[in-house]
Amino acid sequence: MKEIRILSATGILGSGFREETMKRAMTLKPDFIGADCGSTDPGPHHLGSGEPQFSDAACKRDLRLMILAARAAKIPVLVGSAMTAGTDAQVDRLAGIAREIAREEKLNFKLATIKSEQDKAYLKKRLKEGRIKPLANAPVFNESVIDRSSHIVGMCGAEPYIEALQNGADMVIAGRSSDTSIFAAMPVMKGFNPATVWHMAKIMECGAASVVLRKYPDCNFAIVTDDHFIIEPPNPDYRCDPASVASHNLYENSTPYELVEPSGVLNTVNARYEAVSDRAVKVSGSTFKHAERYTIKLEGAELAGYQSIVLGSVRDPIILRQFDRWLEDLITAARDRIRAVMGDSIDSRYRLDVRQFGRNAAMGVLEPDMSIGHEVGLLFQITAPDQKLANALAKSLSHIAVHYPVPEWTGLITSVAFPYSPAEIDKGASYRFNMNHVVEPDSPLEMFRIAYEKV
């Protein structure tokens, strides 16, 4: 029976994998090595600012081992969503790291880069044509959102990878990609059953996440046929069982039964998960329905402002007994002081948010239990159009906070414990995800630019 063998280096490039595991996996003769290098998990900062989640050194360590293994076996390396957000500059940054590795290791290969950043004029045209559609819980989208965005990326499907592979790329470094497309590209290109392929890709894109107990990031390995795939972790200390593999469909997906891809929808309602050993699981029975319209999901981020924060904690039981009123009055007093310093027009130029650690800091408005323990941590956060202003406002606020009174005590009290001097910490720019929409392009390649080079 025709088969293809797939090695996933890790769940996210830069988080690591064991060198011994990759060595062992290479003895299983994979047809390519893939790794996702991005996510929206760590928030909008990486797309907004272009700064990666992991260090260049961490990505280089992982990429070097992948390139060395792949060149020795003469198989391609596919990396998607370069340096967290997959902006054009992040693709160039990861490609630069790959060139350094090639130079240091005296390797020559054909590198393809796929750029995913979107032209604003193109998006405005598609918007006018009614070919940009909202997904669930999407914010308002219009020309002004496009203009305000610091970066907008399109999440590419398998097709740009296939194009690069067909043009002889030994290595593909892509901008923002659907995580699964990295692993689906070569099997789809070779004509394997898309149902088996996309289900495998969903499990493999997270590396060793589908094992029973993932103690540290590591590789995973799958063998795909038209009928099924078998997943077996190459690390001998890890094992998959039917429940661990089935459970992975739940992960960061709104339903375990459907996975929406640019080219269609994987349906796992009738999937079967069977143990083939105490470490390996056979998966079959999913279906894949090709979409009537091919769609590309957009991700955008815009500047929300610059922030300064003040951290402190309150321990006095007298204050804690009247905490809500004390804090509310403190905030009013801080706003009054800020107005006195900056004039009334300041009100519309900043926002003040307060988080109460030990109370509702994690859940905010979702928190059903507002009871108070023996102390509460406070995080005051000022957001303003520039850093200088944010810092100035935080200075006014922190002085109000540190001496804010309660009626029971006479004289000047010091009501908040600050762990830092100065109390005000400049946090820099803060960004906001500002779209949850798909574009209907004329072709799967239309929104992406592929370039080739010999390194």
Binding site: N137, A243, A246, L250, T268, G305, V365
Partner: protein, 103 residues
């Protein structure tokens, strides 16, 4: 009474993209999963009340293949926005842990 954490191997919350929050409750045993599932302990009304939202926006999916119940809701705040307190959405499951269930 038994608490939900005692009969599960995982109770987790996580972003499903920056605009949705999803909860996974994975049971240790099939029989207990079926009992909790069929008793509809975790229903849209209870969840909406606990998490202060409208029941209409709460989607509950029973996932027999993994003995799991999944709940997906719109994020009240976009991940990482200036008023978000949990960028990954990873610490939103607290109120589920000590829920009393038949076992």
């Amino acid at each position: 009474m038994t608490k939900l954490w005692q009969v599960t191997k995982l109770i987790r919350s996580k972003n499903s993209g920056p605009f949705e929050l999803t909860f996974d409750i994975i049971f240790k045993e099939r029989a207990v999963y079926e009992k909790v599932r069929d008793a509809k302990i975790i229903n849209a009304g209870w969840f909406a009340k606990t998490y202060r939202m409208k029941p209409e926006v709460v989607a509950i999916i029973n996932y027999d293949a993994a003995n799991a119940i999944k709940i997906t809701i719109p994020r009240p705040v976009i991940s990482g926005d200036v008023n978000d307190g949990d960028v990954f959405g990873g610490q939103q499951y607290g109120p589920l842990v000590d829920l009393e269930v038949p076992a």
